[in-house]
C-alpha cells in the first residue's frame, strides 16, 4: 500500500473555533477502495476534520492533496468537482422539496431550453433508488414526509450518483433501524469494491470494526494513532478513544478500568 499514491492526503490540518483548537495539526490519508474509520469521543474533532475536506468549513492551515496534487477546498463547490461527496449526519436535505430535486440539488439536469428537466431527474432518481432502496416510493412529495430510512437513501443517492471518488460518511447508521443499517453496511462494502475511498466517521466501534480497513482515532483534536484493523482488538481501540494513548502506552490497570 505504501508505494501507491494516496487518493486523499490531508497534511497538518488545523481548524480553530474562537480560542478552541478543534483540529490540531492532523494528518490523515486514504487510498482508493479503502474504508478508513475515523473514531473518537464527542468533540474529538472528527466531524470538523471531515468538514475541512468537504468544504463545509475551511481549514485554517495545512494541505490537502488529491492524487498527490495539492488542491484548495474553501466551499462545498470546490469539493464536488474533485469527486468528494459527503453524507452528513443531519442528512442536509431541503425538507420542502422532493427527492429528485434533493438528489440533484446544485447539479440540476437542464433541458436545452435552459429549464429544469424534472422528468429526467425523476427518472435518474428512480434508477438510483432501485439499487439503494427498492421499496422507495414518494418521488413527488417533499422529503420531510418520508421515513428516516428513505431520507437516508436520498442523502446517499445524492452522494453516489455523481461518480464520487471519495465518500465521507458521518454517522451513516446513527438514526437507522436494524434492517436499514444492514442495507447501508452492504452498500459501503459494494462501494468499496468499486474502488471508492470512504471515510467512515462513527461512534459505533462495532460498525467501524466491521467495515473499516484502517482506523484513525482522534482525541482532543489530535490523532492518537492510525492502526490496521487486523492488528488491534476492540478493547485497544476503545482504550485509544477514551484514554487518548496508543495501545503500547497503556498500562494493564488502565485497560482494566475501561471495563470497570
Amino acid at each position: 500500500m505504501t508505494d501507491r499514491i494516496p487518493l486523499v492526503e490531508m497534511r497538518n490540518i488545523r481548524v480553530a473555533f474562537g480560542g478552541v483548537q478543534a483540529v490540531d495539526d492532523v494528518s490523515i490519508d486514504l487510498y482508493a477502495g479503502e474504508v478508513m474509520g475515523v473514531v473518537g469521543g464527542n468533540g474529538a474533532g472528527k466531524s470538523t476534520l471531515m468538514k475541512a475536506l468537504s468544504g463545509a468549513h475551511k481549514a485554517d492551515s495545512g494541505e490537502i492533496l488529491i492524487d498527490g496534487k495539492p488542491v484548495t477546498i474553501a466551499t462545498p463547490r470546490d469539493a464536488k468537482p474533485l469527486g468528494i461527496e459527503t453524507i452528513y449526519q443531519t442528512l442536509a436535505l431541503a425538507e420542502n422539496i422532493d427527492a429528485p430535486s434533493n438528489v440533484f440539488l446544485g447539479r440540476e439536469l437542464m433541458t436545452s431550453w435552459g429549464t429544469l428537466d424534472d422528468s429526467a431527474m425523476e427518472d435518474a432518481t428512480r434508477k438510483v433508488m432501485k439499487r439503494l432502496n427498492p421499496n422507495f416510493a414518494g418521488f413527488k412529495q417533499p422529503v420531510q414526509s418520508l421515513s428516516g430510512g428513505q431520507r437516508q437513501a436520498v442523502a446517499i443517492a445524492r452522494a453516489i450518483h455523481f461518480n464520487a471518488r471519495v465518500l465521507i460518511m458521518d454517522e451513516p447508521t446513527a438514526a437507522l433501524g436494524p434492517a436499514e443499517t444492514t442495507q447501508v453496511r452492504d452498500l459501503i462494502r459494494q462501494l468499496k469494491s468499486e474502488g471508492i475511498g470512504i471515510f467512515l466517521v462513527s461512534h459505533d466501534i462495532h460498525d467501524v470494526f466491521d467495515l473499516a480497513d484502517r482506523i484513525s482515532v482522534m482525541y482532543h483534536g489530535k490523532i492518537v494513532g492510525t492502526v490496521n484493523k487486523n492488528e488491534v482488538t476492540t478493547d485497544q481501540v476503545l482504550g485509544m478513544i477514551i484514554l487518548g494513548k496508543k495501545p503500547t502506552e497503556m498500562t494493564q490497570t488502565e485497560l482494566a478500568q475501561l471495563h470497570g
Binding site: 462545498p76 442536509a92 420542502n96 446544485g106 422528468s119 414526509s145
Partner: protein
C-alpha cells in the same frame, strides 16, 4: 364530482402515501386525480364567494364589468410585487422597503418625464415611455440589489436592512421634489395605467384569450407526452380534458368580462369627432377589452411562475428556504441567490411604480405608501409560509385579488376606510390561522 371520480377504477399512484389514501373521501380523490393545488382552488372559490357575496348585497351593482375591471386594475400594483415578495419570503427573508421603493422610483420617473427627458429628447418623443420604463426597472433593480448585497454578503438581517430602506427611500422620495406632486406623465406611458384608452380593445382581447387556450392545451399535451416518455404515471384522460376545458372556459369568460366593459359615451363622442366617425342613433359600441396593466400582470405572473418552478434560481430559493445549511452544503451559491432575489423584487417594484404613476398620471409623495403591508398580506393569504420554503406565485396574485376585492367591496357598500382595515386585518389572521391549522393536521 363524486359520480365522476367513482366512475374511474382507481387513481392511486404508488407515489401516494398509504396513510393518506385511507382517509381521503371520494370527492377529494377525484380532486387528487386532477392534480390541482387544493389551496389555489380554495382561493379561487374564496374570491368568487367574495365577488358574489358583494354582488348579492349590492343587488348586482358590484359585479358590473366596470367594477370588476377597476378592481382588477387596482390589484395590479400590489399583485406584481407580491410575486417577488413570495420568493423573498420563501427564502426566509422579508422586504419591508417595497412601498418606499415604489415611491422613490415613481417620483424619479415623473421628474424624468416632465423635466429631464423633454430637455434631452423633446416632449412627446415616441421612445419616451420605453426609456422611462427601462430606467424604472434599472433603478428598482439597483436599489434592491444594494439592500440585497448588505443582507447576503454582510449578513445583516433583512428585516433591519429593509426597515432602513423603508425610511430611507421615503425620505429620498420627499427630497427629490421637496414633497411637490409631479404631473403629467408621457401619454404613451399613461396607457400602462389602464382605463378605456389604456386597454387593448375587444378583438385583440379575444386573440389573447384564444392564444391562452391554445397554450393550455399545448402545455397539457406536452406534459403528458413528457411523463409518458419516462413511463411515469399520468393522470386519467377525463381529468386532463376537464382541466383543459375548465381552464379555457375560465380564460374566455375573463375576456368576456373585460369586453363587456364599453367605452363611456363621452369618450366615444370625443373619439368619433377626432376620427371623423359618424355616431349612429343607438350609440357606438367600443369594447375596452383587457387593460394593459392587467396584461402586464399576467405576463409577470407567468414569468415569475416560470422562474420559480422551471429555473435553477427558483429551485435554489426553495432549497434555501427549506434548509439554508443544506443548500450551502449542496454547493449552491446561497449569497448570490439571495442577492439576485432582491434585485428581482426591486425590478418588480420599478414596474409596479410605473403602473401606479401611469394610473395617477404623475407621482405624489405618498405613492406606494403602505404597499409593504398589502404585499406581505397578499403573499401570506396566498399560502406563503413565513417560516420559509413554501409558497406559490399564482397564490400570491390570487391573494392580492382577495385582499383588494374585500377592500373594494367594503368601500363600495359605503364602509369607511378604518372599518375596511378592521375587516382586512381580521381576514388576514383568519386565513393564515386556517392555513396553519390545515398544515399541522396534514403532517
Amino acid at each position: 364530482m363524486t359520480d365522476v371520480s367513482s366512475a374511474v377504477p382507481t387513481t392511486d399512484s404508488p407515489d401516494t402515501p398509504p396513510a393518506q389514501v385511507q382517509v381521503v373521501a371520494a370527492p377529494a380523490r377525484g380532486l387528487r386525480a386532477l392534480e390541482i393545488d387544493l389551496r389555489l382552488f380554495g382561493m379561487v372559490v374564496a374570491l368568487a364567494a367574495i365577488l358574489i357575496g358583494f354582488g348579492i348585497v349590492t343587488e348586482g351593482r358590484f359585479i358590473q364589468p366596470v367594477n370588476i375591471v377597476n378592481l382588477a386594475v387596482q390589484s395590479v400594483s400590489v399583485a406584481i410585487i407580491a410575486t417577488g415578495m413570495t420568493m423573498i419570503i420563501i427564502s426566509r427573508n422579508i422586504d419591508l422597503s417595497v412601498g418606499s421603493l415604489v415611491g422613490v422610483v415613481g417620483m424619479t420617473m415623473a421628474v424624468l418625464m416632465t423635466r429631464t427627458l423633454p430637455n434631452l429628447i423633446g416632449f412627446d418623443h415616441p421612445a419616451m415611455w420605453i426609456i422611462s420604463l427601462a430606467i424604472a426597472l434599472a433603478l428598482g433593480g439597483l436599489m434592491g440589489g444594494l439592500q440585497g448585497s448588505v443582507i447576503a454578503y454582510l449578513g445583516v438581517p433583512s428585516f433591519i436592512v429593509t426597515l432602513g430602506g423603508l425610511l430611507i427611500f421615503r425620505g429620498v422620495t420627499w427630497a427629490i421634489t421637496r414633497g411637490v406632486t409631479i404631473s403629467p406623465v408621457d401619454p404613451t406611458f399613461r396607457l400602462l395605467g389602464g382605463g378605456p384608452r389604456g386597454s387593448i380593445g375587444g378583438t385583440a382581447s379575444w386573440v389573447v384569450g384564444g392564444t391562452f387556450c391554445l397554450a393550455i392545451v399545448g402545455l397539457l399535451t406536452s406534459g403528458r407526452r413528457q411523463r409518458r416518455r419516462f413511463g411515469f404515471p399520468v393522470r386519467p384522460m377525463w381529468a386532463e380534458v376537464l382541466v383543459g376545458t375548465v381552464g379555457c372556459a375560465l380564460v374566455l369568460s375573463v375576456v368576456w368580462v373585460f369586453n363587456s366593459y364599453l367605452w363611456p359615451e363621452g369618450l366615444v363622442r370625443q373619439y368619433a369627432e377626432a376620427n371623423d366617425i359618424v355616431v349612429p342613433e343607438e350609440g357606438l359600441r367600443i369594447e375596452a377589452g383587457v387593460p394593459w396593466p392587467v396584461l402586464v400582470l399576467i405576463a409577470v405572473t407567468i414569468g415569475m411562475n416560470f422562474i420559480a418552478t422551471r429555473r435553477r434560481f427558483g429551485r435554489y430559493v426553495f432549497a434555501i428556504g427549506g434548509n439554508p445549511e443544506a443548500a450551502e452544503l449542496g454547493g449552491i451559491n446561497t449569497r448570490w441567490t439571495i442577492m439576485k432575489n432582491y434585485i428581482l423584487i426591486g425590478m418588480l417594484c420599478g414596474l409596479s411604480a410605473s403602473i401606479a404613476a401611469a394610473r395617477l398620471d404623475g407621482a405624489t409623495l405618498d405613492l406606494g405608501q403602505g404597499y409593504e403591508l398589502y404585499v406581505i398580506a397578499a403573499s401570506v393569504v396566498g399560502g406563503t409560509s413565513l417560516a420559509g420554503g413554501i409558497g406559490t406565485i399564482p397564490g400570491a396574485v390570487l391573494g392580492a385579488f382577495v385582499m383588494s376585492a374585500l377592500s373594494y367591496g367594503l368601500s363600495f357598500i359605503g364602509l369607511q376606510s378604518p372599518i375596511q382595515d378592521i375587516v382586512a386585518g381580521t381576514v388576514l389572521v383568519i386565513a393564515v390561522g386556517l392555513d396553519t391549522y390545515n398544515r399541522r393536521r396534514a403532517r
